[in-house]
């Protein structure tokens, strides 16, 4: 039975969005093992759907994806006050300079391929700095 986010050691929910199944699988395994509640999405469209359901504390978002890319996800989040404060770690094989020309609204950038230590450090840093979020509405 799935644990609720409150019952987990650090009680934080992370939404991982990446079209590469291998990347998604590895990150899901590592973050779950550390006690995070992990929600996965394979493209931007799926990510927006999950966003509504899981109210993540942080998003790890890939830039180049089919159906809807990371730039479009960021744009949608920026236009919605409910999501605009969620910290986002943007990941891409592009240089950050090239990424900056394409999109804005992310908190941190990690160039692919990245080491998981670097990702974990970035997650901890952003979660520590983030204001306490209000509990998701009970259905």
């Amino acid at each position: 039975m799935e644990q609720s986010s409150e019952s987990r050691p650090n009680g934080k929910t992370i939404l991982i969005v990446d079209d590469e199944f291998g990347v998604l699988e590895v990150l899901e395994f590592i973050l779950s093992d550390l006690g995070y509640h992990v929600v996965a999405a394979l493209n931007g469209q799926e990510a927006l759907a999950r966003l509504r359901d899981c109210a993540p504390d942080l998003i790890v978002l890939d830039l180049m994806m089919p159906i809807m890319d990371g730039a479009a996800v960021l744009q949608t989040m920026q236009s919605n006050g409910k999501y605009s404060k969620i910290p986002v770690i943007l990941t891409s094989a592009l240089r950050e300079q090239n990424v900056k020309e394409r999109c804005s609204g992310y908190s941190l950038f990690l160039r692919k391929p990245f080491k998981t230590d670097k990702l974990l450090e970035s997650i901890q840093q952003l979660l520590a700095a983030a204001p306490a979020k209000s509990k998701p509405e009970q259905k």
Partner: protein, 494 residues
């Protein structure tokens, strides 16, 4: 019904490959690039993408492979064709693995259709197509997929490349349907790696058939079309009537007035007989209007220049002032057709008229997958077509002795003039002898001449007299040794 785009080519931009394809792939076509792991499929696929991005075409690269896009780009990023700025705008990398895993071939096809349209892609690369083939429930399903992809590619004017591993069944069902197939092969040639590219199928074009060498380095893939497939369509047989100086007046007299222009002269002899000296004398007659080239394997340009200084005396300046270019190649780990390509390029670059190849054995040490005579035959034809008069050196193993083994079998058929250099030992002295065995379409002096090497190059004796007495003495000595040896054997038997 035909339209303008029927004949539009999409250049790969890969050096040598477009030559094989007579200009490139056809726009809207579907092509398979097949090869075992490590043969360079992903490099070739990316190289085509970046070259097309430079030409302002949108590219979609879909991976079905285990390697992540980040890791792949990290590796590709080391190559000179890689352009960071092209990624994202011109080239989009996405994974098709989930679509394939979730909904099979129809899911993948749906993804490809949608993304090609969304990105207005003119080039689509599907890397790891073997995963798609493996996921097909039947050959029929795969056929339908390929057919639909082909229709989609044609409709979107998008050229598609499927990168895959070799199939057990050849031809596989998809191979019968695509517009072209390129095979990449890698094998060991003695202790060295040899790579060959084979355009196995190419609809609508008379591509260059057979195996062609390729190499992978920091510039990506470079293909070297087999020299014999590039034979120019111009006659190279005219021009025999003119002669140019060999650089040595007496040798010119023996040759019947000099070397026929566009001819190829082979100088055969053991090391130290003076082959390079004669070649340097030939090059020392180079001028701005008749540029020279020394294409050598064994001596560095510095060494050649100091040799020319010592042996060509007043004419040595041409080796310093640019009338003669010296190109030095290491004979190790070179591809035969790369050497041929570099030689022809150096000839064309300066419109070379006098060429010395020092020595032919360097070609023989290069990596090749076919008999060398075919290469030489094509090289000679090319050089004639370029209007070059060539002098080559070839070393023989026998230093002193009555027999001489042809250094490169089959070469005498394609070369025009033959000069033989020998040592003969008489008493305590070593003598050099020169003789002409053949001059194409011309009379010549077949007499043997002694010669010495001086500050002015070789100095040939006026007549055969000295050579004759040296040979008579030498044969008399040989006969005496033979009689003494026979006697010793006879005594021993008794």
């Amino acid at each position: 019904m035909s339209s303008d785009r029927d004949l539009t080519r999409v250049a790969s931009g890969v050096q040598g490959l477009d030559t094989l394809l007579r200009g490139g792939f056809f726009r809207g076509g579907l092509y398979i690039i097949e090869g075992a792991p490590g043969t360079g499929k992903t490099i070739l696929g990316n190289q085509i993408c970046f070259n097309q991005a430079k030409a302002d075409n949108k590219v979609l690269y879909v991976t079905l492979i285990a390697e992540t896009v980040g890791r792949m780009l990290l590796n590709i990023g080391q190559m000179t064709f890689f352009d960071d700025a092209a990624i994202g705008d011109s080239i989009v990398y996405i994974s098709g693995f989930n679509a394939l895993k979730k909904d099979g071939l129809s899911g993948l096809l749906h993804l490809l259709r949608r993304e090609v349209t969304a990105h207005r892609a003119k080039i689509l690369v599907v890397d790891g197509f073997a995963s798609a083939s493996d996921s097909a429930q039947s050959g029929e399903e795969l056929k339908v997929f390929v057919q639909e992809l082909q229709t989609q590619a044609d409709a979107a004017d998008c050229t598609v490349f499927l990168l895959t591993n070799p199939t057990e069944q050849t031809p596989s069902s998809e191979e019968t349907m695509v517009d072209g197939i390129i095979n990449l092969e890698s094998c060991l040639h003695e202790a060295r790696s040899a790579r060959d590219l084979h355009v196995r199928k190419m609809r609508g074009t008379r591509h260059l058939e057979g195996l062609h060498s390729y190499q992978i380095d920091d510039d990506g893939i470079t293909v070297y079309p087999r020299l014999e497939t590039l034979i120019p369509e111009v006659s190279s047989d005219n021009g025999w009537t003119h002669k140019i100086s060999s650089g040595n007046e007496r040798l010119d007299q023996m040759l019947g007035g000099g070397l026929p222009t566009r001819s190829v002269t082979m100088m055969v002899g053991p090391s130290g007989t003076g082959k390079t000296t004669i070649g340097l004398q030939f090059l020392s007659n180079s001028t701005k209007d008749e540029p020279g080239l020394l294409f050598g394997f064994y001596e560095s340009p510095e060494r050649i220049r100091s040799k020319a200084q010592a042996l060509c005396n007043s004419k040595a300046g041409v080796f310093e002032s640019g009338e003669v270019e010296i190109v030095w190649m290491s004979p190790n780990d070179q591809l035969l057709d790369d050497l041929g390509d570099q030689l022809i390029a150096a000839v064309r670059r300066r419109k070379v008229k006098r060429l010395m190849i020092d020595g032919l054995g360097g070609f023989n040490k290069a990596i090749r997958s076919r008999p060398i005579e075919r290469f030489f035959s094509a090289l000679v034809y090319q050089l004639r077509a370029e209007g070059v008069t060539t002098v080559c050196t070839a070393e023989v193993a026998e230093i002193i002795g009555p027999t001489i083994t042809t250094p490169l079998w089959g070469l005498s058929d394609v070369t025009d003039n033959h000069i033989l250099l020998r040592f003969r030992e008489v008493g305590a002295a070593l003598h050099r002898l020169l003789s002409i065995l053949k001059v194409r379409d011309s009379g010549f002096d077949p007499g043997l001449r002694t010669f010495s090497i001086t500050n002015n190059g070789i100095e040939l004796a006026e007549s055969s007299h000295d050579a004759e007495s040296i040979l008579l003495n030498w044969y008399a000595r040989e006969r005496k040794i033979a009689i003494v040896s026979a006697g010793a054997v006879k005594t021993g038997d008794e």
